[in-house]
């Protein structure tokens, strides 16, 4: 296959950036999208040019490092597929492919396709946990968790923190990310004591970090590589109202 890649190049956080066109030839449909960038980078390095900087690590779709907007869609054209799991068989010979970093004010560009997502860590550290210091735990079977509850918690806990939801949202909202953690922890019996403080604190941090509000566009859930459902956002709103009514604000 032969492809034309138009990639966002930006030397540093304060520098201007632009789309730069590269041709890649003789690539195989079995290659992953990141392997195409590997091939391009080796060529650039040998030519004495700067390779394209991009985040990646596990290349199995689970660490959440890779983050590219491909042809206008976070993680590209395949549903529930991270950039690293996207393969060239999803494209056609001769395609022109645009590759950009996540675009959202709370995710500033560091270099090329690398952005700073530390705002997500701050949302989690403001309440996305169950207080359970090591050594304090009761016997695992002392609290039963009905299977549907465990499944709901699991479905939301599969979030990989990649940020595609924010990149997809016209408002740059982090509602789906925050909602997934609230749904995971607030649905479990172990999460009940901090149920109200958790949601209030996480939402406050989300707002303080500069993420936009939710207008129920639904782009986030469509872009989510782990299929976190949009209904989690409705749940977040319910949890938030519940906490306000409970007078914990």
């Amino acid at each position: 296959m032969n492809l034309t890649l138009r990639i966002w190049r930006q030397p540093g956080p304060d520098a201007g950036g632009s789309m730069v066109t590269y041709q890649v030839s003789d690539v195989s449909p079995d290659m992953s999208f990141l392997e195409v960038l590997d091939v391009l980078n080796e060529r650039l390095i040998r030519a004495g040019e700067q390779p394209v900087a991009f985040d990646h690590d596990c290349r199995e779709g689970i660490c959440g490092s890779c983050a590219m907007v491909i042809n206008g869609r976070p993680h590209g054209p395949e549903q529930t597929t991270t950039t690293c799991q996207l393969h060239l068989r999803s494209f056609r010979d001769g395609d022109v492919i645009d590759v950009e970093p996540w675009r959202a004010r709370p995710f500033p560009v560091i270099k090329d396709l690398v952005v700073d997502r530390s705002a997500f860590d701050r949302i989690i550290s403001s309440g996305g946990y169950i207080t359970s210091p090591t050594g304090s735990a009761p016997e695992a079977h002392s609290i039963l968790v009905p299977k549907p509850v465990a499944d709901l918690a699991f479905e939301n806990a599969t979030c990989i923190g990649c940020g595609a939801c924010v990149a997809a949202c016209p408002n740059g909202s982090a509602m789906l990310f925050t909602a997934a953690k609230v749904a995971h922890l607030n649905s479990l019996p172990q999460g009940q004591p901090e149920r109200e403080s958790r949601v209030l604190s996480m939402v406050a941090t989300m707002d303080a970090e500069g993420f936009g509000g939710c207008t129920n566009t639904g782009e986030c859930a469509a872009a989510c590589p782990k299929g976190i459902p949009l209904s989690s956002i409705a749940n977040l709103n319910r949890e938030y109202l519940h906490a306000l009514r409970a007078g914990r604000a």
Binding site: I45, K111, P146
Partner: protein, 645 residues
């Protein structure tokens, strides 16, 4: 470089005597404590935020220590523990199937081919039950049954169901539990977290580990960090083979640099080759993806009986298939340990019965499971793995059998530690995959998560107190000449990497090293192949320093510089790995020497000469290393020829 010298034997002085059941209690009682109000006066550096590092950082901070923690990823949540799929073992005996702490201990010592320490493994089995309690309390959504109880499944090398799991994402869920505990401590101001910061060297003063040199990967700034103790939780060195199931960034720099500063490196030749990975599809391959061992609960492994059979799998009738694991190992069948399953697959392919491109693959077939349980049940158990397989290969495993082939997965070897998880270098603690201690020559499935969390939540926090309470640490400042020295050496090295400006990329060297190691020191190793590797590695290293090219500068985000620094260390590490494999002329676990096998091709141990840990001391650049042996003693499990037939 085949010259090495044999030094004095090394002994684990931290392990107490007495009945094995009481040793951990004894050690916890004899370990000195640090008064809660004094703990905040101690700084502890933790490098790495995977299951071991994340759980250790959180627990030490909960206890009141000042923790300074590092990871090279942009967030602690991305450490490669996140990719572990199958599950975590614990001797809960919830299935009432005859499990016990003693049986988990026995299975692990036997699975490790009698090359691990009894005391350590027994403690691991004891602590395993507390780990599940801890994780459930944190909200880890383990799989449950309809009655609300935790579900279990079975893994290779055992005959009980003791593996707890969260679909095929157990590592992710456990890691997020540890990450959330860590996040809570970061917000509380008890942990100073440095993401995107990579350790370059260890600072040793007066024989004690006192800090690290680390590079901020965004700004390129190389800084020193000082503390009372240093904990390395930096994972394994499987990426030395280039193609492995490790993350692209996983590297051996921290443990190799610590080794160069005096820490012994134990059993580097014990590398685990996982039997069920997706075969490579071409030259461009950048990494390999594991398919969880749990698939062997329901999938059946087979190859065509006829050599070079190119028919599609569905066209090969039942009586022309060889379910070779079920045939050779009837009592464990498809659930034999990893080393045995890997070698059996290699043997089938070597004999010409492999399937797929290049004949490097065997089938893992779910047709029987789907017929027996229905597609929905199979999907509920393994859905995400099937999806991943389909995304990578373009084939639907519900309809055609998966093709799998062994790949490098885990490093049993690592820095030598005593029962307290302390290296021979005082004040240096090593936990998780980075140490060598619990898995012997072969790790059983679902034991890595158990060990990482055992070390981080329960073992290290109890033993590090003892070191800190003994005191005797002189204050050290950043201007101390010894500190400045290490920092300037690290900077010089980066400058050297940047100034070669040759014509070959870092990846080209890494690929060449990986291919060489896989070929000469992979699934089968011989005297000849290892001597050849030992000839070629130093030449490749020399070439690297003459002709590598690293663009850009050190004062910016420079991913090629990061890689170059890691590959430079792999090129040194590889030599010790091959040397250790050469010196150990027996076969054991994942280390298979072709000269040492039984008539039916199984690994043959040589207990008389090799029932020891090989702990290597760095001899200096251009000088051979020194081998220290730690004799292994078996009082509770009698070493036998492993049999899974």
């Amino acid at each position: 470089m085949i010259d090495y010298t044999v030094g004095e034997d090394i002994v684990d002085r931290a392990a107490p005597d007495g009945p094995i059941e009481a040793r951990w209690d004894t050690r916890r009682f004899t370990a000195k404590l640090v008064n809660p109000s004094n703990r905040r006066k101690h700084r502890i550096i933790v490098v790495g935020t995977g299951l071991a590092g994340g759980s250790a950082g959180a627990t030490l901070a909960e206890q009141g220590y000042q923790v300074v923690q590092f990871c090279f990823q942009d967030s602690p949540r991305r450490a490669h523990s996140v990719a572990a799929q199958g599950g975590i073992n614990a001797a809960k005996d919830y299935r009432n199937d005859g499990d016990s702490i003693h049986r988990l201990f026995y299975d692990t010592v036997k699975g490790g081919d009698f090359r691990s320490r009894e005391s350590n493994v027994y403690r691991l089995a004891q602590v395993s039950v507390e780990i599940i309690d801890q994780c459930v309390a944190q909200g880890v959504p383990f799989a449950r049954e309809y009655g609300g109880l935790l579900d279990n499944r079975s893994f290779g090398g055992v005959q009980v169901s003791r593996t707890f799991y969260a679909r095929g994402q157990t590592g992710q869920q456990l890691l997020i539990g540890a990450y959330q505990a860590l996040s809570r401590q970061i917000a509380a101001g008890n942990i100073e977290m440095h993401p995107r910061t990579e350790m370059l060297d260890l600072i040793v003063i007066d024989g004690r580990a006192r800090g690290i040199v680390a590079r901020d990967l965004i700004t390129g700034e190389v800084r020193t960090y000082l503390a009372d103790a240093v904990v390395l939780a930096t994972g394994g060195y499987g990426n030395i083979f280039y193609l492995s199931t490790n993350a692209k960034g996983s590297n051996a720099t921290a443990i190799w640099r610590a080794h160069r500063r005096g820490a012994y490196l134990a059993n580097p030749c014990y590398t685990q080759i996982h039997p069920t990975c997706i075969p490579r599809s071409g030259e461009h391959q950048s990494k390999l993806t594991l398919m969880s061992e749990s698939l062997r609960n329901d999938g059946r492994i087979w190859v065509p009986k006829r050599k070079g059979d190119t028919r599609a799998p569905n066209e090969i009738p039942e009586d022309e298939r060889d379910y070779y694991l079920e045939r050779i190992y009837p009592s464990f069948g498809n659930l034999v340990p990893r080393d045995i399953a890997s070698r059996a697959a290699k043997n089938q392919c070597d004999e010409g019965r492999g399937v797929g491109p290049g004949g490097l693959g065997v089938y893992l077939d779910f047709a029987d499971a789907i017929a027996r349980l229905g597609r929905d049940a199979v999907e509920a158990r393994y859905g995400n793995l099937f999806d991943m397989y389909q995304r990578i290969t373009g084939e639907n495993p519900y309809e055609v059998p998966m093709r799998i082939y062994p790949a490098i997965h885990y490093a049993m070897g690592g820095l030598w530690v005593d029962y307290d998880l302390q290296s021979n270098l005082a004040g240096l603690f090593v936990i998780g995959e980075a140490n060598f201690s619990d898995h012997g020559a072969n790790r059983l499935g679902a034991s890595a998560l158990m060990q990482g969390l055992a070390d981080g939540y329960f073992v290290l926090p109890a033993t590090i107190n003892d070191y800190l309470a003994r005191g005797g640490l002189d204050p050290v400042g950043p201007e101390d000449p010894a500190v400045r020295q290490v920092q300037s050496e690290a900077l010089d090295r980066l400058q050297r990497l940047l100034s070669v400006r040759g014509e070959r990329t870092v990846d080209s060297f890494h690929r060449e090293l990986g291919a060489l190691l896989w070929d000469k020191c992979g699934m089968a190793r011989s005297d000849e192949s290892l001597r050849d590797a030992l000839e070629r590695i130093p030449k490749l290293r020399e070439q690297f320093w003459q002709s590598v090219t690293v663009p850009g500068t050190g004062a910016e985000l420079n991913q090629e510089l990061e890689k170059a620094n890691r590959v430079a260390d792999f090129l040194e590490f590889a030599e010790l790995l091959a040397l250790d494999a050469l010196v150990r002329t027996e076969s054991c676990g994942g280390h298979f020497r072709v000269e040492s096998q039984t008539p039916d091709g199984e690994a043959r141990r040589d207990d008389e000469n090799f029932s020891h840990v090989a702990a290597w001391e760095f001899g200096g650049d251009g000088r051979g290393p020194v081998l220290h042996k730690e004799p292994l003693q078996f009082d509770y499990v009698h070493p036998t020829q492993r049999s899974y037939a």
